[in-house]
Amino acid sequence: MATTLNKKDLVNIFIRSNFLLGSFNFERMQAIGFCVSMLPALRKLYKGQDLADAMKRHLEFFNTQPFLATPIMGIVAAMEEKRANGADISDATLSGVKVGLIGPLAGVGDPIFWGTLRPVLAALGAGIALTGSILGPILFFVLFNAIRLATNWYGVMYGYNKGTELVEEVGGNKMRYLTEGSSVLGLLVMGALVAKWTTVNMPLVLSSYTNSQGEQVVTTVQTILDSLLPGMVPLLMTFACMYLLKKGVNPLIIIIGLFALGIAGYAVGLFA
């Protein structure tokens, strides 16, 4: 039975790709989601026992950055199409392509989407939202989803058209440029946020005297710190958090610890 996939099947895969993580579980993670995303293609290509085997094939462990799962779906669709039409593609080959791509694509996708795109757009949106303007949430939601949907759409199409050729591209330099470039942007913005969007005020008075002009001169911990490097305290706090997180401390424990520090600091007059 010679069948080919058409655009409609690929559109179906794209639509389903938006629900990849729906049944995420700790055993095989995105496995059901991947299988369900591939079903439109599998149903068209196979019948009977072949279809059952194909479903089983795609219920194996799968986990990657969700937006970059789409090129894998495209590649697998292309490979399954060839296989259904008689090409000699074994289960091991298909599985190998999937397993070989999930790691590298997560390695590219995590810093780009979770490390850069979302925090940068969310910070931009949150900054506007703090003034009470609806533009903040809208800006974040629309921009993020436009980029996400475009990624999912082109991911499926590009993966299908390129097929296994793409496997080499993922390991190539282009991906490295993309990852490092977005990390540069993300880290620069994080640096800016540490300075701009934190407030630490230490009004503890160290000395107070009246100068020759008869003006009161008050030196607090904060004025000394500001004369050295404004934003130094949040910077040091950031490094402390990075250290604790690397040690495996749960972020919520650190947040609760900082709350305790704030309450204790306020109670003794260190913070205001």
Binding site: A31, Q49, A129, L130, T199, P251, F259, G262, I263
Partner: protein, 267 residues
């Protein structure tokens, strides 16, 4: 709260719950979830401001690999209900959000464990070639995530605003509420630290310090930082291209030692 508001609230909570596992459209992020809860409860401005504040706190909460982040969905939905219906301050909302995020995390880990059952059910359907059955397993997992946020939200919506809850919230001493406000100024660093750690790029840290220094000594806004970041990324990639090309050319290129002197130094 009217019946229609209550129903809409449950729908928003369910969508946020589904969003928390899907991580696609971002309905679970505070910026979106708090705004929608505010809209439903008739005080969208409070929802937006609380959403913006919570979003900064949750900036680094992400699901990478198999690791679970604190749960933004439950924290956003319930803290917004308590702030708007229970007439609490934004600061109190932030403080309430933290234990809620921990509770949400426990609930989502629970659901993701139960969903293993659907995984095995899907295997059985696959053996029969029953695609519809697999689709239902997928939907089952998704619905559990919706319920996980919708049910607690419904319970809180029913008790919030009652005298008992208001009295409880009002009995928090001032040193705690003011202290929480103070902490709100720097608690966001945890999120920044999570993002920086996730990038795991020690060699790129100079760009972090560049961003920090520009922010400390100038008034550049976030759009400006985005533009500066893009320019830095451009030059960084150019440099990387040169390095990789030089590596590819290999050490074979060692002719006249005079060639190694960079001409630009002489100009």
């Amino acid at each position: 709260m009217t019946t229609i508001q209550f129903i809409l609230l449950i729908i928003v909570a369910a969508v946020a719950g589904m969003g928390s596992v899907l991580d696609e459209a971002q309905f679970h992020r505070p910026l979106v979830a708090c705004t929608l809860v505010g809209l439903v409860l008739g005080d969208i401005t409070t929802g937006i401001i609380l959403g913006g504040t919570l979003e900064m706190l949750a900036l680094g909460w992400m699901n990478v690999g198999a690791a679970m982040a604190p749960d933004a969905a439950l924290a956003s939905v319930i803290s917004t209900i308590l702030v708007i219906v229970g007439h609490q301050s934004i600061g109190a909302g932030i403080a309430l959000a933290v234990p809620l995020a921990a509770a949400g995390q426990v609930l989502t880990i629970f659901v993701r464990t139960i969903t293993v059952f659907f995984q095995h059910l899907a295997d059985k359907f696959a053996a029969d070639g029953n695609g519809f059955g697999i689709e239902m397993c997928h939907l089952g997992g998704l619905l559990l995530q919706a319920i996980r946020v919708a049910v607690p939200a419904a319970i809180v919506a029913l008790v919030a605003g009652t005298d008992t809850v208001n009295a409880m919230l009002a009995s928090i001493p001032e040193v705690i509420t003011r202290g929480l406000q103070v902490s709100g100024g720097f608690i966001v660093v945890v999120g920044y630290a999570m993002v920086i750690n996730m990038m795991n790029a020690k060699s790129l840290m100079p760009y972090f310090f560049l961003g920090f220094l520009i922010a400390v000594f100038t008034n550049v806004n976030l759009i400006g930082f985005g533009a500066i970041g893009l320019i830095c990324a451009y030059f960084h990639i150019k440099g990387l291209q040169r390095d990789l090309a030089a590596q590819a050319a290999g050490p074979a290129k060692s002719g006249d030692p005079l060639d190694d002197i960079d001409d630009s130094d002489l100009m």
